[in-house]
Every structure is written in structure tokens, then in C-alpha cells.
């Protein structure tokens, strides 16, 4: 294992720890999204995303918890503001909004983020600002919305190779597993059929994620990294039937989660 891989793993676990601490005061929240996307954010922030140069869209606003934690990790955001997450009058709303720091755009109404990413890429092209990359965090449930596919067709037709989607395929939506509600598979083949470069990887394997991001940067087509994940990954203390969309985290479970992550990071 290389140092950078170990660094990414620790980035992911620190992100999990911060997310647990953000959700704990309320006793429930969007912890599952942070657990499933932790390695994706770690690889993105470590290997690809340049915050002062590139664009970052978090399409599902529920994932903003992970973006807040990652922003602290890279020094974009002071750690103490995380304590205001989801509280009254806080800029760090639990479902991301215009006040959310650390990202160029986030959307509470799902599936709108990719279109915005395309708008950023088109604006860069019109303004003659080549070289910026546009990263869009998306989730598998969002593929049920038609706007995703409008945007997918548009991006390939217009050759928007600056755009990379990181799709957190955690098979979780409000009513249960995505696969029991709508068949999305074959996900990667669908995007390939739409003219995209697609990689399908274990979303908790930082090396595979980093490699996929590197390939995406080289491919002239718009790219998608389908990250296969679990909303319980990295926290063995969670019950097996935890609702991945909205995890309950009573005080004793929160304490156990903190102990588990702190011991792994020690």
C-alpha cells in the first residue's frame, strides 16, 4: 500500500468521524450518504479536484454533509462551523442550499446538478477558460429522474470532456434499495451508450477510484465513475437494518461510532 492510499483511507475515515459528530446532536440524519461516499470524496480531493480552479457540484443536497467535512479536511472551512450543521440559522443546512460553503453548487431537488455542471463547462468554453474541470457528485437514485438523461445526451453531443460525474451507487433511496424500486442496471453501459466514458469500480477502494479519476481526466469524452458503495461502510457498530437514507444515531450508538473511528485513526 502506498502512502497516498493510506492517506486517502485516513481522509475517508476522518470524514466519517466528522459526519458522525455533525449528525450526533440531532440523533439522526444523512450519515449514510457520508459513509458511502467517504472514499469518493477522499480520492476526489486528494487526486483530482483543485478547489480554486475547478468546479464542484454536489447534485444530491443530502450529501453536502460529506462536502462540509471534506472542505474542513483541506482547510477551506474552519472545523468549528461543523458544529452548526443543521442547526437553526446556520449556513450549513442539512440539505445543501445557496448558503452551503465549500461547493460551487448543490441541489436539494434531485437530479439537477449535472445540468448545472454542463452550464459551468459551457460557460468556460464560451469565456475561453480552458483547463477547468467540472466534478459532479451524483447518486444512483437520481438516475430515476429524466433530467439526468437529458443532461447525459447533451454532454456527449457537445463534447463536454471537462465534466466528470462521480456516481455514488449505494443502492439506497427513501423507500428502500434502489434496485427493488427501479432497475437501473446496467448503469455503466447506459452511460457508455449515451456517449460517455464510464468506469465501474468498488467505491470503497481508494486506489481504484484514484485510477478511474486519472483515466477520466485523459478521456476526451465526458466521464462517469460509478462507485459501488454501502451506506454502512466503515462503521461496524451500525445495525444491519440501519436505514441508509436517514440513519438513526442515538447517543450510545454515536459514542460507539466515535470510539470505532478514533481507534482506527489512532
Amino acid at each position: 500500500m502506498t502512502t497516498s492510499e493510506e492517506g486517502m483511507r485516513r481522509f475517508a475515515d476522518r470524514l466519517r468521524l466528522r459526519a458522525v459528530r455533525m449528525v450526533a446532536p440531532q440523533g439522526f440524519g444523512y450519515l449514510g450518504q457520508a459513509l458511502s461516499s467517504a472514499e469518493t470524496f477522499a480520492a476526489l480531493y486528494t487526486c483530482a479536484y483543485r478547489p480554486d480552479h475547478d468546479r464542484l457540484v454536489v447534485s444530491p443536497g443530502h450529501y453536502i454533509i460529506a462536502a462540509y467535512a471534506a472542505a474542513v479536511e483541506v482547510g477551506q472551512l474552519p472545523e468549528e462551523v461543523l458544529a452548526t450543521y443543521g442547526q437553526d440559522d446556520s449556513d450549513l443546512e442539512a440539505i445543501g442550499t445557496e448558503t452551503s460553503p465549500g461547493v460551487d453548487l448543490t441541489c436539494g431537488s434531485l437530479s439537477q446538478g449535472l445540468s448545472a455542471g454542463l452550464g459551468f463547462a459551457l460557460a468556460d468554453r464560451i469565456k475561453g477558460e480552458a483547463g477547468r474541470r467540472v466534478f459532479v457528485i451524483a447518486s444512483d437514485g437520481e438516475l430515476e429522474e429524466g433530467q439526468t438523461w437529458e443532461a447525459a445526451m447533451f454532454a456527449a453531443h457537445h463534447g463536454l470532456g471537462a465534466v466528470t460525474v462521480l456516481l455514488d451507487a449505494n443502492d439506497s433511496q427513501v423507500d428502500g434499495p434502489v434496485s427493488q424500486i427501479t432497475t437501473l442496471e446496467p448503469i455503466a453501459a447506459k452511460w457508455e451508450a449515451f456517449g460517455w466514458h464510464a468506469a465501474d469500480v468498488d467505491g470503497h477502494d481508494v486506489a481504484r477510484l484514484a485510477h478511474a479519476l486519472g483515466e477520466a481526466a485523459l478521456d476526451p469524452r465526458p466521464s462517469i465513475v460509478v462507485a459501488r458503495t454501502s451506506t454502512r461502510h466503515g462503521l461496524a457498530c451500525l445495525p444491519e437494518d440501519a436505514d441508509g437514507h436517514f440513519i438513526k444515531l442515538p447517543p450510545e450508538l454515536a459514542d460507539a461510532a466515535v470510539r470505532e473511528l478514533e481507534s482506527r485513526l489512532a
Binding site: C107, I126, E150, A151, F154
Partner: protein, 334 residues
């Protein structure tokens, strides 16, 4: 002010937008597969590098436009009014209106000006756009106003919904007419009834006012293209000096100009009989021609005359408005 039948011109909006874009490199043009119909073939042919055809994908189009506006561009987005407001309403809310971005949404073919049936008739677009916080909503009456509005909205903070007739655009106002985003215009004053109109119903209101004046009724006529933010002070001032108020709009009477006037009168404590000429609480239908629909759904000059007569409490028969006949290339309201 001209008299009917009015001369018409083609593509006054498309021409004005192109002239603006020649000077302003931040102006970009988006079209949802209705490029010629929305007059922006002119833009596409001369400035293709700033023209984006998103195809029939209005949700994606609004999202792209919002992000472009975040990057300092001024997107003008074009399609028919139905597709500009109904399909991508959530995208307009979240990607444009809530972040207060300067996207200019231009919806063509208002109300029953389309004989294409309910799927193509934007009868509630003003109402739903008006309900969005910070959205400016404008319904244009003629080519003179259209030529001026494009430059007036380009630097307006926040989003704009601009509602435009498609095809031959009448020239109702004289060349000296000055369109204002802030003020409704009192075109004539009289002591009995105020008629407040906009869009395609302004020319109908002008003809109705003439018929009423000929019958001895004093008419105040107000052109109110900007439905939001609404010029309540002008409406309140003219209402104080008359006995009754009539509104006229090519739109449902729920939530548009008539509602804005009703709210203004009520909040000012002005008890004036009010009649709202517009489409009732109903969808319209497909037909061979738009004039048939204007008559069938109560949007004729005579409907305005009758509404004024009724609001004034006149028990006798109302005067009969004589409709001007229009040759090819001319426009006259029914």
C-alpha cells in the same frame, strides 16, 4: 398611438436581442428546439459561438442557464410559454429563482393566441411565474415595447419572465412611446371606468375604450405590461378617480393581471366594482384560428365593453364595438 388595423413587423424581439448581443459579449442565447419560432435564428446565424440549442429538454436547459448565469453570463432562454414554465417549473425554482440569477426566460405564444389546444396554450404562465419570489414578469403589447424591453432587462437583477406574441407583431404605439419597467402608463383619462390591460389585450382595450367613449362613458386606460413588480401606486391612483375597474389579459383570471389589480384595490381599501376579462377557470381547446378562441373564451373587445357596462351598473344595452378588419400583414383585435 396608432389606430387599428395595426401594421405588423416580423422578429422585433430577435432583432433587438441580436443588436444587444453584438455589443454585449456576456449575452448568450439558449433555445429548446423552437429557434425560428422564437426569432433567435437571427442570433444563431450571426453568433453561433454564443448560441446553444438544448433540444427538447427544458429541464436541462434551465439548469444550464442557471449555471451560466453564475459564471457571469446573461442567458436568454427561449421556447413556447407552456414549455418554458410548466415542464421545468422545479428547475426554474431551484436553479434560477431561488439563487436570484439573471436568467431571462422568454416564453412565446401566450394564452389562446395559439389555436394548438391546451398543450400549447400558456394560460397560467403569468400566475405561476408571478408566484416565484423575485421573478419579474412582463407581458408585452407590441413591437415598440419589445424593441425597448430587451435592453431594459439585460442588467436587471434577478430572473425575468418575458411573455411574447409569436409571428406577426402589431405596432400599436407610436415611435415616441417609452416603455417603463417601473411605471404602468396611463394612456388616456376619464372619470367613469378604468380599464387596465396588457399584452395582446391592450389593443382590444383601446378599441373597447373608444366604443365606450362614443357612448358617453369616461374611460381611463392603463397599459400594465409589468405584472410583477406591480405598479400599485398608478393603479391605486387611477382607481380613486373612477367608479369601476376592468382588467383585460390573455390569461386565466386566476393569478395574473386581474388578480394583481384585485389585490391592489383590496389592500388600498378601495371599494370599486371590478370585472376581470380573461380566460375563466377553464382550459381552452384546439381550433382553426386564434380569433375564434378569443371570442369563444371571452377575450374580445365586446367582452371588455360589456364588462365595463356591467361594472358601472348600467341596466341598458351596452354599445356595440365595431371590429376593424385586418388585411394580410395587419393586426386587429377581435
Amino acid at each position: 398611438m396608432r389606430k387599428p388595423p395595426y401594421p405588423t413587423v416580423l422578429k422585433p424581439y430577435g432583432t433587438a436581442l441580436l443588436e444587444l448581443a453584438r455589443e454585449r459579449e456576456d449575452v448568450v442565447c439558449l433555445s429548446g428546439d423552437l429557434t425560428r419560432q422564437c426569432e433567435v435564428d437571427l442570433f444563431r446565424d450571426e453568433i453561433p459561438e454564443r448560441f446553444v440549442n438544448t433540444g427538447m429538454a427544458e429541464a436541462n436547459m434551465m439548469g444550464i442557464a442557471g449555471a451560466m448565469a453564475r459564471r457571469g453570463l446573461v442567458p436568454f432562454v427561449h421556447t413556447f410559454g407552456v414549455f418554458a414554465t410548466r415542464r421545468p417549473f422545479d428547475q426554474i425554482v431551484n436553479a434560477i429563482a431561488y439563487p436570484r440569477l439573471p436568467v431571462r426566460i422568454v416564453g412565446f405564444m401566450p394564452g389562446v393566441s395559439s389555436p394548438g389546444g391546451p398543450s400549447h396554450q400558456a394560460i397560467e404562465d403569468v400566475a405561476i411565474m408571478r408566484a416565484l419570489p423575485g421573478m419579474t414578469v412582463i407581458d408585452m403589447a407590441d413591437a415598440v415595447e419589445i424593441r425597448q424591453v430587451v435592453r431594459q432587462i439585460v442588467d436587471l437583477p434577478g430572473p425575468v419572465y418575458l411573455r411574447l406574441k409569436r409571428g406577426e407583431i402589431p405596432v400599436v404605439f407610436g415611435d415616441d412611446h417609452e416603455f417603463s419597467l417601473r411605471h404602468a402608463q396611463v394612456l388616456q383619462s376619464g372619470g367613469d371606468v378604468a380599464i387596465i390591460a396588457n399584452g395582446m389585450m391592450l389593443s382590444s382595450a383601446l378599441s373597447a375604450a373608444e366604443a365606450l367613449r362614443d357612448a358617453g362613458v369616461g374611460v381611463t386606460l392603463v397599459n400594465a405590461p409589468v405584472v410583477k413588480p406591480f405598479d400599485t401606486s398608478t393603479v391605486e391612483a387611477v382607481a380613486r378617480d373612477v367608479r369601476a375597474v376592468v382588467t383585460a389579459e390573455n390569461h386565466t383570471v386566476v393569478g395574473g393581471l386581474g388578480s394583481a389589480v384585485a389585490e391592489t384595490l383590496a389592500e388600498a381599501g378601495l371599494a370599486r366594482p371590478l370585472r376581470r376579462v380573461g380566460i375563466g377557470d377553464t382550459f381552452a381547446e384546439g381550433a382553426k384560428s386564434a380569433p375564434h378562441l378569443f371570442r369563444k373564451y371571452g377575450l374580445s373587445t365586446q367582452d371588455i365593453v360589456d364588462a365595463a357596462w356591467d361594472a358601472l351598473g348600467r341596466g341598458d344595452a351596452p354599445p356595440v364595438a365595431t371590429a376593424a378588419s385586418a388585411d394580410s400583414g395587419e393586426y386587429a383585435p377581435v
